[in-house]
Symmetry: C2
Subunit: 228 residues, 2 copies
């Protein structure tokens, strides 16, 4: 089985061939796909990703909690933003939630034709790897990036996941996957330090949400996978 890594949504078209026979993992570590994993960890019933804010408002009428950010800031009038720390057990347990984010939702929508479509984060990386291996299909690791640009944190996660797959019989012909694995092997002794210079982490600092970072870089707090 083959691994390909899509570094940004702007490169998705190069990998869309035969997608109906592939499994895809969408990666938006800071913060959409981490936040979705946290919501499920804390007992949410469902988390629906949507692209447009108006779509979220439609779900509110159905009793959903609505969550969303634009440029890293919570949308006015929404129940939550996109910080995983807002998705606590007392708020999300048993609830249906709709989440609208800048980059993650765009990537999720782009690959809607995939046979299996997941979102993942460091918080459930081992479970995700296990499921990909069991599915035994070619896999696309789809980094959401930032406004179509490459970013470090999504790519490092893709490398961490790819490395587990390579260690379990998957192969790759893809330079982006090889690069992601190299980055991961460089980053893993101290992931937070490696990412300290990343653009998105700098953006976090300017928004005073550094404490989210620690939440987003925690490993295997959830043993399930999230299919979307």
């Amino acid at each position: 089985m083959l691994i390909d890594t899509i570094l940004t949504p702007a490169l998705f078209h190069l990998h869309s061939k035969d997608i109906e026979n592939k499994q895809v993992v969408v990666i938006d570590i800071l913060r959409a796909t981490t936040t979705m994993v946290v919501a499920y960890e804390n007992g949410a019933n469902t988390v629906v990703p949507v692209e447009h804010l108006e779509d979220a408002l439609f779900y509110r009428e159905q009793g959903y909690l609505i969550a969303g950010e634009r440029n890293g800031v919570k949308v006015e009038g929404f129940d939550m933003g996109n910080s995983p720390q807002e998705f606590t057990k007392d708020i999300v347990e048993g609830r249906n939630i709709v989440l609208s984010t800048t980059n993650g939702t765009k990537a999720i929508n782009a690959c809607s034709a995939a046979k299996f479509r997941y979102i993942s984060s460091f918080r459930n990386i081992d479970a995700m790897a296990k499921t990909i291996i069991e599915n035994n299909l070619n896999v696309l690791l789809f980094c959401a990036g930032w406004k179509d640009k490459f970013n470090l944190e999504d790519t490092v996660f893709a490398g961490a996941l790819a490395q587990q797959l390579l260690d379990n019989g998957f192969t790759t012909n893809d330079d982006a996957t090889r690069m992601a694995c190299s980055l991961w092997n460089l980053a893993k002794p101290n992931l937070a330090a490696f990412l300290a210079d990343a653009s998105h982490v700098q953006r976090f600092k300017s928004l005073h949400i550094e404490s989210d970072l620690e939440v987003c870089l925690r490993f295997n707090t959830f043993s399930g996978v999230v299919r979307v």
Copy 2:
């Protein structure tokens, strides 16, 4: 001064703003921009990059040598392919040459509005860095990639060049540049070994042109820069 790295031509549009005030370095290590540097090393009068094979034929009527490849193979009836080893002193000295290649020319054409536009390779990396620093303008390191996909060898070169610029007062806010520098620092103890798995190197092996690789990874054999 700021450094940005464009990982493939498919991401150029994200960096095209204000390009008339920037300097751009187009990178196609295997083999277009290396071959162009070798031609100048060996005394070529000029090397004109063109996208379409028909354009090359037009130049033949003006007395140019015509060189070109498609999918790594020399075009039938052309004087040379795209192997730097074909551009020897006895063939190219004092001659005008036109070169049509798959990926390099596409990138060169995309950034025609830049204030200064160069091509470079490991064979003139120090001279290129010196000129970029002297120009004292924001710089785009433009990897030609392979059919719009990311590749390792162009990115490692971008990292090597970016590292020299960072060491001389340039800065970056760009994750692609940070990643490229990380890759370069990982690769530099043994560049050939680092690239041995790269897709393009594998393609080289299948085309029996491994000896080109050694030529393409030689450092600072030329003290000039190539403006296009």
